[in-house]
């Protein structure tokens, strides 16, 4: 990637391994500013528009924090209520209107492909903050950053992806990205919620060391990273079946007795019952750090696409 200035951040698949490494290293430099230990005015005079066609508090606040920490300003909406979208305005029109008010656009939308469409209607860089069941590249970068920052490297790590691997959006992107970095993967899911076969085939074809199991306890002794995701109640027609399955995918202290000393546990949050709150006090728990890492990663991306700092 020759220049980041003006670049749209739409899908993690458009990032080479080198691109991702650039972002990770950049994000590490931003971490002291994200923590408030250093101050910066690098984006003074710049405006970020956050267009959230569906609510996502965590994503929106972390983008706003990133922009404000760098001296920039933020405007936008956090749901379509009261906006012209409710009057039937197209996304294409909304984006062309907002282009006049901001230097960079962050878009969250319930429909797949929305960010790509938006990017086609504006010269301003568009950052995809989640489009339906599609892509959420900054979440993936934040997850990769957390593993890289905690472990020193991603290559060679034994990473267990746990929970709803079939419908989970973030877990598909992270699996592909981790494989590109040479991690070895284990997929742990209840029957019926396994990783889609297209992704499994793609990873196998690329030579990724890969195994699959339905039993959470199988992976605990060997995992360097446990990436836990939420099992959604609505996937189960029978509430009792949900309770049974969710119960068997719960990470708690007894389960972790066999864990490696330097295991880290991640979760894109919000969690429900997948991780016992007692685990929060162990050195394994890195999910709140992971949530914080959204800020330095998004700071790095904002500076990069606006062509300032470096």
């Amino acid at each position: 990637m020759a220049s980041w200035k003006g670049r749209d951040i739409l899908s993690i698949r458009e990032f080479s391994r080198g691109d991702i490494e650039t972002v990770l290293k950049y994000a590490r430099k931003m971490a002291p500013i994200a923590r408030g230990e250093k101050s910066s005015q690098s984006l003074d005079g710049k405006i970020l528009a956050t267009l959230f066609f569906e609510p996502s508090t965590r994503t929106r606040l972390s983008f706003e924090s990133a922009m404000i920490r760098l001296g920039g300003q933020v405007l936008g909406f956090s749901s379509v209520e009261g906006t012209s979208v409710q009057k039937g305005e197209t996304l294409a029109d909304t984006v062309r209107m907002v282009e006049g008010y901001a230097d960079v656009i962050v878009l969250r939308h319930p429909h797949e492909g929305a960010a790509r469409l938006a990017a086609e209607f504006t010269e301003r860089p568009v950052i995809n903050a989640g489009d339906g069941a599609g892509q959420h590249p900054t979440q993936t970068l934040q997850d990769l950053y957390t593993i890289w920052d905690e472990k020193g490297k991603i290559e060679g790590q034994s990473i267990a992806l746990i929970g709803d691997l079939r419908y989970g959006r973030t877990v598909h992107s992270i699996a592909t990205a981790l494989a590109a970095f040479g991690a070895s993967l284990t997929f742990v899911s209840p029957p019926g919620l396994e990783m889609p076969w297209e992704i499994v085939e793609e990873l196998k074809a690329a030579g990724t060391p890969l195994s699959m199991t339905h039993r959470l306890e199988d992976v605990v002794p060997t995992a360097d990273v446990m990436y836990v995701t939420r099992i959604q109640k609505e996937r189960f027609p029978d509430p009792q079946e949900y309770e049974r399955v969710a119960g068997s995918y719960r990470v708690d202290l007894p389960l972790l007795r066999e864990a490696k000393k330097d295991l880290i546990i991640l979760h894109p949050l919000p969690r429900v019952t997948e991780i016992d709150p007692a685990v929060d006090r162990t050195p394994y728990a890195k999910y709140f750090r992971q949530a914080f890492n959204a800020v330095p990663v998004r700071m790095a991306l904002l500076e990069m696409v606006l062509g300032v700092g470096g």
Binding site: T90, L91, A92, P110, E112, G113, A114, R116, G132
Partner: protein, 151 residues
């Protein structure tokens, strides 16, 4: 006098070796509808040595460019296009599968942004194969049944 089932045309384009049953979809892809100013002849379910059965489309007084016709390779991968001038085949070529299919297919993902009222044409990346596959440039959904997805 013996009446020919399909008469030769003087000038225009003949698309041959269309899989049986696909002729009307070929017309649709080419945008040939009731507004066309020339005569269009469609022969369906014609015996063919190579294919068993095939369809043929003849468009009079209009020379279709190869690039224009390549689009039909999505559903008629072995079709041949003959440009006819004064009853003779002046040019002949076999269609080539295009890399992209713009405005031809409808995305099967109901949640895809192209299925909303947005001012964009659908756009698919096309991959060769038996049958060819097409992936939506917006939502990545792969079209399994291309003929059924023709707009």
């Amino acid at each position: 006098m013996r009446e020919l089932r399909v008469t030769p045309i003087k000038n225009g384009t003949v698309i041959d070796h269309i899989p049986a049953g696909m002729a009307l979809k070929v017309l649709k892809i080419l945008g040939i509808d009731e507004g066309v100013p020339s005569t269009v002849t469609v022969a369906m379910h014609v015996p063919s040595k190579a294919m068993g059965w095939k369809d043929i489309v003849k468009v009079e007084d209009r020379e279709l460019s190869p690039r224009e016709v390549d689009k039909i390779a999505l559903i008629a991968p072995r079709a041949s296009v003959n440009v006819i001038r004064n009853y003779n085949v002046a040019e002949k070529h076999v269609v080539r599968l295009p890399d992209r299919a713009v405005g031809i297919l409808k995305c099967g993902n109901p949640n895809c942004i192209t299925n909303l009222r947005e001012p964009v044409e659908t756009d698919f990346f096309v991959r060769a194969g038996e049958p060819p596959r097409a992936a939506c440039r917006y939502c990545d959904r792969v079209v399994e049944d291309i003929p059924a997805a023709i707009v």
